[in-house]
């Protein structure tokens, strides 16, 4: 289970952007989190991905509480989570060829011997052709780079996948291709998914259940300028 209990997080403790949010994802389950831009859903995704320390609340990864975030997070926690961000350009080191971009998590965790096998297999799974793997990010399109970012997120075979607006910048065909790649991986591995987005049609089609941001904060006060539903 991936469990978030009563999470409050933000960038200024007086005005948190995420208030008292509780959310669970069961193994193999796909949960969509729907909200308008600026509502705080990406912050929640960052908390879940161990990239932002919450002000309060607990995050349980397979029953184990997370106590450290970002670079302090233990490897055992970091490697069971795969993350795909909205903007591939900002999430890719411009100096790395796509093949090295995808292999980087294996290098960082001392699993270099898996590189030849895993990178080739994943490149095919996300629809990247061999000639693209030799290129650097400025030589490929946004859609192609996002495919590489998805392959990078999958290369450690994570049990949990977090997709933060993974397809917001992409056209319909690339969106469908990336979602299909995620679903193929989940079918093979049994991984759980938290997909954050603002496109209800997409999340409803993709996920087992879709949660609305406004319904998440149990018993929490919403901002004064927003009427409670």
């Amino acid at each position: 289970m991936l469990e978030l209990h009563d999470i409050t997080a933000g960038y200024d403790s007086r005005t948190p952007v995420v208030r008292n949010v509780t959310l669970t994802v069961a193994p193999g389950e796909a949960v969509g989190l729907l909200g308008p831009s600026g509502c705080g859903k990406s912050t929640l995704a960052r908390v879940t991905a161990l990239l932002h320390r919450p002000d309060s609340g607990t995050l349980l990864l397979d029953g184990e509480p997370v106590r450290r975030w970002r670079h302090r997070a233990p490897r055992a926690h970091r490697t069971v989570l795969g993350v795909v961000f909205q903007q591939p350009r900002l999430a890719a080191d411009p100096r790395l060829r796509l093949t090295d971009l995808i292999a980087e998590p294996l290098r960082a965790t001392g699993r270099r011997d898996e590189i030849p096998h895993s990178v080739g297999e994943l490149a095919a799974a996300v629809g990247l052709t061999p000639d693209l793997l030799d290129r650097r990010p400025h030589e490929v399109s946004d859609g192609q780079l996002q495919r590489a970012c998805l392959a990078r997120a999958l290369v450690l075979r994570p049990r949990w996948l977090i997709c933060d607006e993974m397809t917001a910048m992409l056209d319909a065909s690339t969106t469908a291709a990336l979602v299909a790649a995620v679903e193929n991986y989940r079918a093979a591995s049994g991984a759980g998914l938290l997909a954050v987005g603002h496109d209800q049609l997409l999340l409803d089609r993709w996920c087992d259940r879709t949660l609305h941001w406004d319904d998440l904060a149990v018993g929490a006060k919403t901002k004064p300028d927003q009427p409670t539903r």
Binding site: P36, S37, G38, G127, T129, S141, D142, G143, Q144, A168, M169, L170, D171, A172, S173, T174, T175, A176, A177, V179, A180, H198, D199, Q200, L201, L202, D204, R205, W206
Partner: protein, 323 residues
């Protein structure tokens, strides 16, 4: 099409753009584009990223980089935009004849100045208003036309929400009262409500019948909402140009690529078009879509001519014609 029978605002004939790269490589970004946009009409140019849509827009505004060569004709009134010199483009075209609604309003607006100051500067540059009060009034009128609340004019761009920033950018595009509005990916990164809102407002500026609107987008839902006609671009060519209602409804698109693109939508089959678009520097001689197409035959080794708005050897035929 009754609308296109009157004289179009913009008439593009055989527009091609080539980029010359180091080592003598040539990138065929746009090839032989033909289309018209009439007053009161919205044409949506759709296609995957990297298919040449934005290059086409840059060519119309004379904003191509130095290593690009444009050929063909793009007539706006009496003027051929592709042959016009920089002086003409700067003094009579940009802002006055073509208003640009930018992709990212947050990046388009000057961050250190208020919306009022930017609007007044644009009014001063594009219109005859010179008196301080007249400029102020014209700026407020422009804001009002774009539904930008006048009590927010004193704010800086970072204080605005995405929707308001979009309206501010639209207000700037409307100041010169240009007959052609060009919107380049106006909805990228906005959430669905805001997308609907933005395209509805753009549509409103066309509905008075005086302006033509060319929208460039990869968002098919936005295109369906706003467009009268749709042009589908693939690998630099317009492969299908048709009525939006027929395209999104029945009988549906006729080019296999257009059909694949629609079937990729989450409310339809949600299946991607197999494979990836070809490199614009290395296009095949025949149909560029053939390697990804499920209707491919030997004929596809030759580039298909555009017949009846569709460039395909094996287009889908509407049911009633087949019977």
């Amino acid at each position: 099409m009754t609308l296109t029978q009157e004289r179009p605002v913009l008439s593009v004939r055989g527009l091609s753009v080539r980029f010359l790269m180091p080592g003598g490589r040539r990138i065929a970004a746009v090839t032989d584009a033909h289309f018209d946009v009439a007053a009161g009409e919205c044409l949506a140019l759709i296609g995957e990223s990297g298919c040449g849509k934005s290059v086409l827009a840059s060519a119309l505004l004379g904003l191509l980089p130095a290593n690009a060569q444009a050929a063909g004709e793009a007539r706006l009134g009496e003027l051929n935009l592709l042959a016009a010199d920089e002086r003409t483009l700067a003094r009579t075209v940009r802002g006055r004849m073509v208003g640009l609604v930018p992709q990212s309003p947050a990046a388009h607006l000057t961050p250190v100045r208020t919306i009022r100051s930017q609007l007044e500067e644009t009014v001063g540059a594009l219109t005859d208003a010179r008196e301080r009060t007249a400029v102020r009034a014209a700026a407020e009128a422009a804001a009002e036309r774009a539904a930008f609340p006048t009590d927010h004019l004193g704010l800086h761009p970072h204080e605005l929400s995405g929707g308001l920033a979009q309206r501010a950018a639209t207000a700037l595009a409307l100041v010169g009262d240009a007959p052609l509005l060009l919107a380049d990916e106006p909805t990228t990164g906005l959430d669905r409500d805001l997308v609907d809102h933005t395209v509805d407002e753009l549509r409103r500026h066309v509905d008075d019948g005086r302006r033509a609107l060319l929208v460039i987008t990869h968002d098919l839902a936005a295109a369906e909402r706003i467009a009268d006609r749709v042009a589908v671009m693939y690998a630099g060519r317009i492969i299908e140009l048709t009525d939006a209602k027929r395209f999104f409804g029945t009988p549906g698109p006729r080019h296999p690529y257009s059909r694949g693109l629609l079937q990729a939508l989450p409310d339809r089959a949600f299946t991607p078009v197999p494979g990836m678009p070809p490199e614009l520097g290395d296009l095949p001689d025949g149909c560029a879509f053939a390697p990804r197409c499920d209707r491919v035959t030997d004929a596809c080794a030759v580039r298909p001519p555009t017949i009846d708005g569709v460039a395909c050897h094996q287009p889908h035929v509407p049911e009633r014609l087949r019977a």
